[in-house]
Homo-oligomer: 273 residues x 3
């Protein structure tokens, strides 16, 4: 029985990189369904890939997760394969897999992919997606290999974590950052609604929202329809995080929000300029 | 027996939206083939998605059509599931599905998707593609649900139509608009060759073509090869509509044509500046 | 038994072209797996598509290769179907398929696709990907047709080759060109490491590299990790060709390299400005 493979990368759609990985998977696991989680993440942006994976993982069919955002290819960074309650994770040891693996409950076993027999020989050391990660994913998906066939075991503390910005709270404010602007111009923060509850804020209230140096009064709604077209709002988005949006518009451009900008949320009039 | 699912959206390829919908479909209908009709339509552009769907539908395998261009998500717009001679259509009630459903011969039964048991619970009301439309499509594709399991029946006149610009004719002219510039710079109009026949025009003739404020004399050819490289032309395109092209060039840039610009076709010298 | 189909085109991801071809394949070969090799090649750029195909072909599962970069659609250029040791190749007769077919060992039989019964009737002569190439690929993949069902046989010398720039060597230098800038800004040349061996150069040396009018001293490394972050280098890339890269950077922008620019490699201090 072949496992489905969910594949995420920063390979983009202008070259044949994604297609070649699909080819390797099709040769090694011809019965496996392959799902493209996304390949348009900014080249080398580990955090963008990791955040997408953590948002996506619970919706993907259990099986093999192959993720390659790998600015350290050709250096000493390890190649990882892990097993979790969800299934296998395969990718570079740079933090890319860590948040999703943690959300799934952690890895019960981790190996470094080092066995040359599990790799495709290559003239160059630049396309480990094709030569190392896809073969490992394909062999695991088809059942042709187990973790033990790939390389030596690692302990969990040998794996690189992903350092994500934390939120900070006072008695009246929660501060964090925007960590994703999506295609529709919505700005997802790293602030959870539970944090707002702890300082006494709840849906229906108008919050004072500082984004960088700008102040906005935004209603905390549960659906876009609660404000008028063109009006800005704050709400819990589809990943369960506080996000700033504009009904029928693009918050990023309309309110000058960009990835990484600081955000502070508070009861109206509490935040000072 | 699982039905194939054809999936169109405006989700783009920079985020994980398309991949997450594939994940939901793979979980609910693991045997269904999923065809990506296209996801690069401009965000929120219902007409662009609807026109692509009507051009594509006859080439897609009968089964389930899942289409999500949904600027009204989080408002009172309904979620629709319909059955037609081609198969099922699932998507928002905003006109997106209407031209394709009409071309297929109309829907014999329509429901509003309202049954929470057919949805994925979500923290936010912004990703109905994942939480409402994909589950409905997956359940219909796998045969786990019928329309009756999704929600209450609607009558056809409760469904939002798509208002498309009509052509206007005089005894000597047909006027319409450009409604698609494709990747190759070709400009498709909403004018059918049959309309030109009615005013006595036929292939091989040189037509006077007014595009916005510019006049061109263009030969009505049946293949690019009938004009020289770099020469502009008018012809019946692969969707059966009059289109302006440049052999070896890009009509959009070369002749300054854009989506929505007005077009008038006539026998040479009939149109005045 | 259905064959997998590997599909490459310049159709991009903004329209429904790729999806419609998938639809045609799904109707004709419902059991065939379809692999998207890539669709983002510059419109009409036969060389870019051909080079991607030759880089990819050995990693794709044997079966049917459908490739459509077809600026000559609607002219007298032929539509080809060929059989090789790898499997079938289907595409326009413009050189697109030639390097990959040559790499596979050449075609043992070639036909021109001319049988109308193997095509989809169409109102226009602009979308042969949908109307001619996809049907041929689908019929070959499903086993519903053999080459003989598609049209008359051609001899190998009737097929259009792809003219690629050759390298030139002196006793101390090898000159060629950059023929691919990838998503990560790496610059692949058409120079093979074997050519450098012939003039006595080997990995570990610092080469003098002239790119256009600029001179660089670049170490020939076997992995990025041999230089510091931000440092430029030359190496054998994943396709086995000499390529210029910057660890943690983008050679294209950092060193002002573009597709087609001339490149000369030599032992340090041999090349003059």
């Amino acid at each position: 029985m072949s496992l489905p493979v969910s594949f995420l990368s920063d390979f983009g759609h202008d070259d044949e990189f994604v297609g070649v990985v699909h080819g390797v998977l099709a040769k090694l696991a011809p019965e496996s369904r392959v799902i493209d989680v996304g390949h348009g993440f900014p080249p080398g942006n580990i955090r963008a890939g990791a955040l997408a994976l953590v948002r996506a993982i619970q919706y993907l069919p259990e099986g093999v997760c192959l993720a390659v955002v790998d600015p350290g290819v050709g250096t000493s960074r390890k190649a990882l394969a892990m097993v979790t309650d969800w299934g296998y994770f395969v990718g570079p040891d740079n933090g890319l897999l860590s948040p999703a693996v943690a959300m799934i409950g952690g890895a019960s076993r981790i190996v470094a992919i080092e066995n040359p027999e599990a790799m495709i020989p290559s003239p160059g050391e630049t396309f480990h997606g094709r030569d190392i990660f896809a073969p490992a994913a394909g062999l695991l998906a088809s059942g042709e290999a187990t973790l033990d066939d790939l390389g030596p075991e690692l302990s969990g503390d040998e794996v690189t974590p992903l350092l994500l910005p934390l939120t900070e709270s006072t008695e009246t404010t929660i501060s964090g950052a925007v960590w994703w602007i999506d295609r529709f111009g919505n700005a997802q923060t790293n602030i959870a609604p539970e944090e707002l509850s702890l300082i006494g804020l709840s849906p229906g209230e108008v919050l004072t929202v500082r984004v960088g140096a700008s102040l906005h009064n935004l209603k905390w709604v549960t659906a876009y329809g609660e404000v008028d077209d063109g009006e800005s709002l704050i709400h819990v988005d589809s990943a369960g995080l506080m996000a700033i949006a504009v009904r029928g518009g693009r918050a990023a451009e309309d309110l000058n929000i960009y990835e990484g900008v600081s955000v502070t949320l508070a009861r109206t009039a509490v935040v000072e300029k």
